[in-house]
Symmetry: D2
Subunit: 296 residues, 4 copies
């Protein structure tokens, strides 16, 4: 049993906190919108008034927020006084599970280290469903010894835990992987649209393709969305484009041409322009069908 | 036991003929280059002098050649007299497993039907490895009753057999699926290159990505090719581009924009320009690395 | 004054024939749809019954048809007997102004040469307007001596005449140039859409851009089409895509990656899918605006 | 004669300051690297110690720096005290000629207005050559009355001055136009590479294309760079990509798909990866040729 903290109790973060509580840990939590975190109190969560207070109460603190701006906000807090950085002291560990740029991740890790703590970047690959099925995969970047200390905690959350290398490399790995999430979906959509206009029933096309050699786990659960879009996005077009932007920005800095990433990104823009930004990014299929003159 | 024929005894066709012989069928075969088919005689294959002679000797004849030109050549033969069309008579069935355009497939099916026979298009999804593991997937287009008659034979070859619809629709389905084969590989290559230039070891990147939600069966066996290219192509860059051309041509005729297909196709061109046309199309990774200034 | 022939008396061909008649030449003509050529008889044109008859009556015969199929049709005629090839004899020259593949052009030139004649490929750059303004530019490929003999005739049609090299090289040059026609239009459309969504009036954006360093002659006359589409296409989306296909096919054969050509081609497909195939290809702007969620 | 200021005395800025001095104005200047501005003192320029001091000494101050970071640096100065904002008082006008995002331009204009001044964004279209030939084109955004007051000064710099609309719209217009600068160059490069591999001499291809309907002024001066790259970049690959990033970022925010921009951007990345970042961006031709397997 350990004294843990969790900053950012949204859809994913909240479920992880519950999982940690269920494994017998004490968890102190913080969420910008306090009301959203209230239900977790029934599971035994202790709510704190600031990210700083969470880190002060915990040995190991998890962070999971939606983007760079949100991460900077919880890192520095209001006026720079009550963010999580201010709570760091020797022996404390921060595990950031947000998907942000490797550069930001490295910069925060350096600030944590200056105060005697350690930060790891530990983005997850997978969705709420994957988490609930206990199949989450976690990549970890940072100090190897720090990783070895917190490894059992990470294994409590998702069974697969892979150490990738130094600070920032796990988010780099996540971003490099997410390229394929978006591009595979668009290439799949191109195939379905082509099959459909050839005269093949859409559900036949989806079935054949997801069962074939191209049927990645991602396509197996998201491919059928082109038959029936879920009411709630699992991962929205807006969020997917945020990840592609991180990839494209890394591509430019590291000088790696990313031709299919760039092409897919423009179609995510088209989907957003058609009002599909908050739908699951499988909506890129609808954008393509409209460009193909199909009403749907 | 049935009287079967096999026209086109190359890498895939030859193995299928052996499989049919092993299942106790009589098989008459034809190959343009007769010498390449000689080893099959040891397995019990009867060699015929023309595609026409094969169809005349068999109730059901399989065809598997590399492209439209080769298919036309075996359909019409020398001077139009000894091709397989000329051998068709009432009751005969031709099963074409080649990947050609739906339009050509439909045109040949119509000519077979005029002579009282039936033709099915039955392209396969999978490689030599998949075939040898007994995991091949076959899609079938054409007359439903004809399909029901030959279904057991198709199940002897690959266990998964899916009826897609009328003539030409199975090749359409195959082409629509193959888009993702090429595009997934390039998107994967972009991710590996990005991870590598970030400082992650290439084999770590390949391992993490193929085990993640984007790890389709195709990427699980072909992804590691970026670590070590096979001496012999499983499916060459030249052949992959041939399939993309069929897709792009269908996209234009059916008016479906294919943005990632078009982008991937130009990188296959780059790979061929760099002398990688006969390598496995995973070589698109090498083309990308060279464009990224990496010597490999 | 010379005995000339003109095969293919459509929008461009008809006007050129009139121009040649006005310069005092005798012109024998042929058009597949005879009625469309009738008005030219009033200008002094002699109508012949077949492409062969035209070549037999003329020393130098111009050909201008819409694509490869049409060129093969007038080359071989019905049953191969009354096409223009059959009319070729020593001393005859054929000047093909159609935009077809360099390979087809070279093949026909070889057949003409076998019969003792010479063929030149002489595609034009420019539109009906350019022709009427006397500003047409003609590129010429083929035997240098043959070019020198007919040069004055070509100068009667368009003032700028450039010898490019051997057979097929002028159509190659035309196709290579036309890439930029399509791509420049789409890049311009992207800029106008971006400016407009920024809050700049569309006509201001068009004015600034066409007067700037990117204002090619093509954009100066076609750019304003995004403000008001002409009722009749100067060059339709369907025709523009036909030219891009020739370019993409050459790119694959010669192994030259064509990234912007491929991207533009898919947007021409989208425009066609939206029902804009017969509109001027400036309609690619409308396709882009619809994908950007703008009603227009 | 007016009291003018000039912040940012680089290649373009320095030449403009000389032009203003030559027209009889008093000019106070500031450059981060003071030594680079020293030669201008011989032309009569008064050097000031900070951007703030420039604005305090002048009625109208021009600013021309290379990017957003540099603009923020001269706006706020060291510790926020000696930047140009701090020098603004009622009646002062700032004319920013830098190419930055419309959002940054609007934000700075608001801060200038709060202090009683006016800011205009006035990016230029054209190069050092265009400036020296007296053919520069200037777009202006901001308050109309302020524009009318400074118009004569702008006309002293470049003859063509166009009022585009409110603050930020001139930089938006510049960015929207620059898309075509990059894309036209790459499409031209594709055409030259295709012509060359067809067997046409490179200089013939360049000549034919730049004289044809696609020959924009930009291609007329930069197209020949593919025959002989200039020793000094007129506009480097690095700088060109900076402009494309602004365009792509605007495209995402305003939801305008930019397919050819995105494709061209990845080839600028390839050119940089090949070590051509500081060469003129016409180097994208060399990147394409290398991908096409051509040694150059």
């Amino acid at each position: 049993m350990a004294d843990l903290g969790y900053i950012g109790l949204g859809t994913m973060g909240g479920r992880m906190a519950v999982r940690l509580l269920a494994n017998g840990h004490r968890v102190t939590g913080y969420n910008r919108t306090r009301a959203r975190a209230q239900p977790l109190v029934d599971h035994g969560l202790q709510l704190a008034g600031s990210p700083r207070a969470v880190v002060e109460a915990a040995d190991v603190t998890f962070v999971m927020v939606s983007d760079s701006a949100a991460l900077n906000a919880v890192a520095d807090g209001r006026d720079g006084h009550d963010g999580f950085i201010a709570g760091v002291a020797p022996g404390k560990t921060v595990i950031d599970m947000s998907t942000v740029s490797p550069a930001l991740s490295r910069a925060l890790a350096a600030r944590v280290r200056e105060r005697g703590g350690e930060m790891l970047d530990a983005p997850v690959s997978g969705s709420v469903l994957t988490l609930e099925q206990g199949k989450l995969s976690i990549m970890v970047g940072g100090d190897r010894a720090a990783f070895d200390r917190v490894r059992p905690l990470l294994e409590d959350i998702g069974p697969t835990v892979t150490y990738v290398g130094g600070n920032g490399l796990a988010v780099a790995m996540k971003i490099a992987t997410n390229i394929s999430v978006a591009v595979q979906m668009l290439a799949f959509a191109e195939g379905v649209a082509l099959a459909e206009k050839s005269g093949i029933a859409r559900d036949t096309a989806v079935g054949v393709m997801t069962r074939s050699a191209i049927g990645s786990p991602m396509l197996q659960y998201r491919g059928p969305f082109v038959l029936q879009m879920p009411d709630n996005a699992w991962f929205s077009t807006d969020m997917m484009q945020k990840d592609l932007l991180l990839a494209l920005e890394m591509g430019r800095q590291l000088q790696v041409p990313l031709p299919t990433t760039a092409a897919a990104n423009e179609w995510l823009t088209a989907a957003r322009a058609m009002g599909l930004g908050e739908r699951d990014f499988a909506a890129v299929f609808q954008a393509l069908e409209r460009a193909a003159g199909v009403q749907s």
